[in-house]
Symmetry: C2
Subunit: 145 residues, 2 copies
DNA sequence: ACTAAATAGGATTAAATTATCCGAAATGAA
DNA sequence: TTCATTTCGGATAATTTAATCCTATTTAGT
């Protein structure tokens, strides 16, 4: 409804990597796609995007894998992950697809939707990778099934 | 972000038909797709779905077109239009794509997203075709550009 | 040096969504 | 009756998104 499939996988993958990093463990692509229940090859592509966007770090070679620093994960927000995977977010986009939709020239749903849009943008802008991975680590939330 | 392209067109089309009906005018598919700025053939398909779902009424033949009763448009909600076009709405769907995500077993975003989801569902469930078309008719909102 | 295991990246395929085309059927008007 | 205009419905095409395949490169361990 709000995220693309690639984003859903990407967010879950980032959280899993972060949670492992909290426990000083590095994880492989196969491990990740198994633990978040996502297609391997597709997940690999998404992980590459996260690496290029400096959201997670990759280590090549036999004992390689993915990880993310504890300091870094505090700064990384949901927004950053979404942008890394789907590209820039158009915050002006009209819910009914009008090219111009604003307070001055609103679509018929604008005045109801604007609060929802504000809440969504605020949520993805304020939710950090750190708090999500800590929530999983504490057993308060999960990433699979 | 929330509606498919087909839904965007469909909602705009329904509002346009309703607004014309408020003024006792029937409108053709070409008229509709011109006035809401949408592709003709694709819009025609969507209009057929709205007709089959009894959201708008069609009249065949030379002076035919689409219309909707004033009493009917009060009962029709955004939800009905979305279901007619995209099929049933899965209100349980997890924002991160988990198969099972609930209060008992939440994903890491569940507790923040649940309020947004509630607001979205409440909006589409409560917003009527009547109020949207009246808003356009009163010049308070628009459907084009 | 060799091997196994890992990431990186290009090419390709599959599926879903968006969009078009065309002919049939209906119908009001000349 | 004939014609122009309209909705209806099936088939098809184009685009975007999702997913896979295969090979190259890196690197720790033996």
């Amino acid at each position: 409804m709000i995220f693309s499939k690639a984003c859903e996988y990407g967010i879950r993958a980032a959280i899993y990597v972060a949670q492992k990093s909290l426990n000083h463990e590095r994880c492989s692509m196969k491990d990740i796609s198994k633990e978040i229940d996502s297609p391997e090859a597709f997940t690999a592509k998404i992980l590459q995007k996260l690496v290029k966007a400096d959201i997670i770090k990759s280590v090549k070679g036999a004992t390689g894998g993915f990880e993310v620093g504890i300091k870094e994960m505090k700064k990384i927000k949901l927004t950053d992950i979404v942008i890394a995977i789907d590209g820039e977010i158009n915050e002006k986009k009209c819910v009914l697809g009008l090219k111009k939709c604003s307070e001055d020239q609103p679509c018929p749903v604008h005045n109801k939707y604007k609060f929802i849009k504000k809440d969504v943008l605020s949520m993805i802008h304020n939710t950090s990778l750190s708090e999500m991975s800590n929530s999983v680590d504490a057993g308060l939330s999960c990433l699979k099934i």
